[in-house]
């Protein structure tokens, strides 16, 4: 049955599948087909599972659409409404054409991620071979909590964290002389991307001018010749298309300055309680800020300084994925509170107060300066301890811990002297594989949902299978060729599992 909330994007009637008439539905996440007169789908494919679609050539009598799945299976759909068959098929095809790439990306991403993990982690790869390839557990089960663990680590990468920009990207564009009085700049797409992200005004100019007014090459040539790029030169030429960019940057910088700072502790404007009234004070050297009194050199120097501040700000903003000149959410949130009430301590804006309290706190002078640990709150510790759950669990843990069965075995006889490397390697693989399976098994506890109950049963049978197909043969082999109790721990810890009463404790 379809979930009630599914959005249906397209409905095509009179579509035959396996010689049965029915209706085709394209939903937000899957495509489904149900036979006429029945309220259930007999065909249902997630878009993510579809590798591609194929259509019958024009002019063929049967107007068909084939869906090929990643698994290699395929489903044929025959559009049988005589008058509109072609139109129906094309509508479905077009919609699929739009939808599939979206899901493909997602599927690919997951696939890539899995691939990457397997490549980077040989142990995991071995585990995968031992468990999935040998069909002890299914691939889905294998990835189920791996990916989610991984998601935490890579949550940022899944949010498509953008790669930051090197602050020195402009320096990386080293001009080379081309031997005949010219300079050669080598631009890569990365650098162009960096320029665009740091200087949106240039991107805008690019959009306006390339390709209708000039070629890309011409654009960049002009860019590197511009006063904008060589900011230390004073901007004079009006014909320079980038002169506007400089102004725009200036405007952006001004608006950022105008917005003020969010952190009251760095606000130099509100630092002084009372500046002297006009005319008082001995500081006669206050520089006149008007540009009229400045020399050309001073102007160029202050332009460089402004440029550095602007550049660093833009690089920083591009790196954090925010637009520098737009007030971000945080700013909006706080702007109502950190207004102009700075002078009264009764109306201290919360951020400021927090910041001040932060500053005056001497954490080492407090007795309780250690991190608070969460006390484990066991209501009925006795019953928990006597419960079979804990018994088996502790048995397993004991076996796996140093000093446990495995470790004893290792300690008693230097294993590396007794068995050849390949057997040792195999043992290691078995050890990790068993550990993995046990992890799956134990992660089901407490079994408080139906799903977990099913899983626990399944895992138990998985373990059994593992024991039969892997451990026993290995044990026999080892016993045949060498001495040993080496594998016993695996068996023992699994026996715990088999002894375990599969009754949900809750």
């Amino acid at each position: 049955m379809a979930a009630l909330s599914e959005e249906v994007l397209l409905v095509v009637k009179r579509v035959r599948q396996r010689k049965q008439d029915g209706t085709l539905y394209l939903m937000a996440e899957r495509i489904a087909w149900g036979p006429e007169g029945k309220d259930r789908f007999t065909v249902s494919h997630l878009y993510a599972d579809i590798r591609c679609q194929k259509i019958s050539p024009d002019g063929k009598a049967k107007i068909q659409l084939q869906l090929v799945l990643h698994t290699g299976e395929s489903t044929n759909l025959h559009f049988s409404n005589e008058s509109t068959a072609l139109k129906d098929r094309d509508a479905a095809k077009d919609l699929l054409q739009q939808l599939l790439p979206k899901f493909k990306k997602r599927a690919n991403k997951e696939l890539e991620e899995k691939n990457r993990m397997l490549q980077e982690d040989p142990v995991l790869f071995q585990l995968y071979k031992d468990l999935v390839v040998c069909q002890v557990i299914s691939a889905e089960e294998f990835w189920a909590n791996r990916l989610s663990i991984n998601n935490v680590d890579h949550s940022l990468s899944n949010n498509k964290q953008e790669v930051g920009i090197s602050a020195a990207f402009l320096a990386d564009i080293r001009p080379q002389t081309d031997g005949c009085n010219g300079l050669r700049y080598n631009l890569t797409s990365d650098i162009i991307e960096s320029i665009f992200r740091t200087y949106p005004a240039v991107k805008q100019k690019y959009g306006e001018n390339v390709p209708h007014n000039m070629t890309e090459k011409e654009f960049w040539t002009r860019f590197f010749q511009s006063h904008y790029f060589h900011r230390d030169r004073i901007n004079t030429g009006l014909q320079d298309i980038f002169s506007e960019c400089a102004k725009q940057d200036e405007k952006g910088l001004k608006s950022m300055v105008f917005q003020g700072v969010k952190n009251p502790m760095v606000d130099l404007l509100s630092l002084e309680d009372k500046s002297l009234d006009e005319g008082y004070g001995s500081n006669s050297t206050a520089p006149s800020t008007s540009n009229t009194n400045k020399t050309v050199k001073e102007n160029s120097n202050s332009a460089i300084i402004k440029r550095f501040n602007h550049h660093s700000t833009m690089v920083l903003a591009a790196g954090s994925g925010k637009k520098a000149d737009a007030p971000n959410g945080q700013a909006c949130e706080t702007s109502s509170t950190d207004g102009n009430s700075r002078d009264s301590d009764f109306f201290q804006p919360p951020i400021k107060k927090v910041k001040i309290q932060d500053v005056i706190e001497y954490e080492d002078l407090h007795r309780e300066n250690g991190k608070k640990t969460v006390a484990l709150n066991l209501k009925k510790s006795d019953s928990v301890l006597s419960g079979s759950a804990l018994c088996t669990a502790s048995c397993a843990i004991a076996a796996l811990s140093p000093g446990g069965v495995l470790m004893q075995a290792l300690a008693q006889q230097a294993i590396n002297q007794m068995v050849p490397n390949d057997v040792q390697g195999e043992l290691k693989h078995l050890y990790t594989a068993a550990g993995e399976l046990l992890r799956h098994f134990w992660s089901c506890f407490p079994v408080n949902t139906l799903f977990l109950e099913e899983k626990v049963v399944k895992m138990r049978s998985n373990l059994e299978r593992f024991q039969m197909t892997k451990l026993r043969p290995f044990q026999e082999k080892v016993q045949r060729q060498y001495l040993s109790t080496n594998v016993t721990w695996c068996l023992q810890s699994q026996d715990c599992v088999f002894d375990f009463p599969l009754v949900p404790p809750l």
């Binding site: 090197s166 502790m265 309680d273 005319g279 004070g281 800020t289 700075r342 301590d345 407090h366």
Partner: protein, 676 residues
């Protein structure tokens, strides 16, 4: 914890105490006991403020008749707010421990908007406000003059207190000031005419009062109700306002004449420098203005404005400035100089005459404070050399002490870089500061440090112009490009709003792990008011020795005055001044014992004893022979080593109550305070 400081029960709102805090309180208590003044230096981040508050509040509770009030002065708004927060914490601790409801009234003034709370000031037990409320006679007269003699005054962050004093007493007069004053005078004249028609009695009443003289003020001062005001000298209180300016019209006429004279004085083509007596002689010869009425100008104008019931005094700021100048110039024959400059040095073609009436003697403004209040505490993280403050402020302290930071690990690492790897001396000395090799070596130092120091680096230059020039050359030489490979670069500009934004972005870059460098200026706003705690400042580089711009005539006059009056040699004062600013700059990065940071002094001159010896003791004691006159490479090696060591916090330097009770420990603590 509850402490016993030589018999005084002190509530201290923490479970442990730093040894130096204990020592500090001890010295503070002795100062209060002696009813004298004190100079106490203790590094920031060692809990100076809470020690001060805890002890003085305890003292006030124990001896309510001896100390009635605590007046806590700090410099910036954030600092004042910090004090208020610490006070709140202390009060909470008190009510928790004693179970009593808090019966201490504390009042914080941190803006002129709050001036109307005047009556409350008299009743508060603790007042927290900025220096100006006590040192600027114009404000002090409104806010602070009635404060009880039995108050303890604390000037925190007092390393620049002499400059605050001087600023509050200095006046600059430009053409614009005179034009606005002219307009003020005309408004006054019209208002007087109007009042004369409608309410002549009012003016008569004023006249009567002025004949009576300023007796009221005199009585009040003699009976100790008021603190004295340097703009309202004692002598004039005993006299009646001179007849020549007693009627309102005459006074306005008098001011007009005075303004005309000043206008004429501004019409010059060369620099004039003269003393106050010379000025008075000249004004008498040219326009027959006597010294006596001039002295009454400020008071006379205040009376007139009151009589005319003028609501917005701010509109009359120009004429008020002129009248204050008149009173000051006729009252003090010493301690001030008059310099009239026809144009700015930088722009000799643009006429912009200014009359600087400069105070050269900081003791004039602070004298009433020392005279009136029984204990005045001057304290800061950097007050070295300690003996200079009593000299330039002209007072006799009973306690002078410097406290070092007790550390479980050496969390600060001062290094003096004297040479580049090419052995070229590194210095901002005037003769060589523009040398290509010096600038390049400075650049290399920054570049090398940017590669090894995590998160934030703050670099200070000796002046803004110097920074501009260096940044421009670094840019041309491609040094900054390479620095950018390691960190983002932000630079202080003369515009405060722009710099605030750069600062915020700088912190953001330190926070998100990119790391950044802030290029800034000693004596600038950043160096005086912004802290770079923890990762916001893992290294401070001081490029050069931040000497004040010595070509200024005002400074020259002041140096001369210091030499003649206080026997302080010019060079000693200049070095002292440079070193206190350098110490302020490098101290920005260490704000507590859990913090750590490098302090790079990039000038070979720092290695000399006369410079080094003027650094605060808590920095000096970590400056060993092995950290002097280093090359860039050596600096990098030592810095790397230091940073590696700092990765783990190793123990804390704390005392428990039990430890404080052992004789042994108390003896050790006594050694922390270094008596000057």
């Amino acid at each position: 914890m509850k402490l016993n400081i030589e018999g005084l029960l002190v509530y201290f709102p923490y479970d442990y105490i730093y040894p130096e805090q204990y020592s500090y309180m001890l010295e503070l208590k002795r100062t209060l006991d002696a009813k004298g003044h004190g100079v106490l230096e203790m590094p920031s981040g060692t809990g100076k403020t809470i020690s001060l508050l805890s002890l003085i509040v305890a003292y006030q509770r124990e001896y309510p008749l001896e100390v009635t009030k605590l007046i806590y002065c700090s410099r910036t708004v954030p600092e004042i707010e910090k004090v208020v927060e610490e006070l709140r914490k202390l009060m909470e601790f008190y009510s928790k421990e004693t179970g009593e409801k808090n019966n201490i009234l504390a009042l914080a003034l941190s803006s002129r908007k709050n001036l109307c709370v005047h009556p409350e000031i008299l009743h508060a037990n603790i007042i927290v406000y900025s220096y100006h409320y006590l040192l600027d006679p114009k404000i002090a007269d409104l806010v602070s003059k009635e404060l009880s003699k039995k108050s303890v005054v604390v000037f925190d962050e007092a390393h620049n207190i002499d400059n605050v004093c001087i600023d509050s007493m200095s006046v600059n007069i430009t053409r614009r000031t005179l034009d606005r004053s002219q307009a003020n005078v005309e408004t006054l004249q019209n208002t007087i005419l109007k009042i004369k028609e409608t309410d002549a009695a009012k003016l008569k009443e004023e006249y009567r009062r002025l004949v009576e003289g300023l007796k009221e003020a005199n009585v009040a001062r003699e009976t100790d109700i008021y603190m004295s005001n340097p703009v309202l000298p004692d002598e004039i209180l005993q006299e009646a306002v001179p007849g020549s300016i007693r009627t309102a019209e005459h006074f306005v006429g008098f001011m007009k004449r005075f303004l005309e004279y000043l206008k004429a004085r501004l019409r010059i083509h060369h620099v004039v420098q003269e003393s106050a007596p010379q000025f008075l002689k000249d004004i008498f010869e040219k326009v027959c203005i006597d010294r006596k009425p001039l002295r009454f100008c400020a008071e006379r104008l205040r009376s007139l404005l009151r009589t005319l019931e003028i609501a917005d005094i701010a509109d009359f700021s120009a004429i008020t400035l002129i009248s204050n100048f008149a009173t000051l110039v006729s009252t003090y024959s010493k301690g001030f100089t008059i310099i009239i400059e026809p144009f700015e040095d930088r722009t000799p073609t643009i006429a912009n005459p200014v009359l600087h009436f400069s105070c050269m003697d900081p003791s004039i403004a602070i004298k009433p404070v020392f005279e009136r209040f029984q204990s005045v505490i001057i304290t800061s993280g950097t007050l070295s050399p300690l003996d200079i403050y009593p000299r330039i402020l002209d007072f006799r302290p009973v306690t002078v002490a410097s406290f070092t930071m007790t550390l479980a690990r050496t969390c600060l690492c001062p290094l003096v870089v004297g040479r580049g790897n090419d052995q070229v001396a590194m210095t901002s000395k005037f003769e060589t500061r523009e040398d290509f090799a010096v600038i390049r070596n400075y650049g290399n130092l920054l570049l090398e440090m940017s590669a090894i120091v995590p998160d934030g680096i703050v670099a200070f230059f000796t002046s803004y112009t110097y920074m501009e020039n260096i940044v421009a050359s670094w840019y041309e030489q491609g040094i900054l490009e390479n620095v950018q490979r390691n960190k983002l670069i932000f630079i202080e500009t003369p515009d405060a709003a722009e710099t605030s934004m750069a600062l915020e972005k700088y912190q953001e870059a330190c926070e998100n792990g990119r790391g950044a460098i802030l290029l800034s200026v000693a004596r600038g706003k950043v160096s005086e008011g912004i802290d770079f705690v923890h990762h916001f400042g893992r290294a401070v580089i001081m490029f050069g020795v931040p000497y004040v711009y010595t070509q200024s005539r005002i400074l020259k006059a002041r140096l001369e005055y210091l030499r003649d009056q206080f026997q302080i040699r010019e060079n000693d004062f200049l070095t002292f001044d440079a070193m206190r600013h350098a110490a302020q700059c490098v101290g920005r990065a260490i704000r507590g014992k859990t913090d750590y940071g490098l302090m790079i002094f990039a000038d070979k001159r720092y290695a000399r004893a006369d410079k080094r010896g003027k650094l605060p003791r808590w920095i000096q004691e970590h400056l060993t022979d092995g950290s002097l006159n280093l090359t860039i490479d050596e600096t990098v090696q030592l810095s790397k080593h230091f940073l590696r060591q700092m990765e783990d916090q190793l123990g804390l330097s704390l005392l428990t109550l039990e430890q404080l009770q052992s004789e042994d420990m108390l003896q050790k603590i006594a050694q922390i305070a270094h008596q000057a």
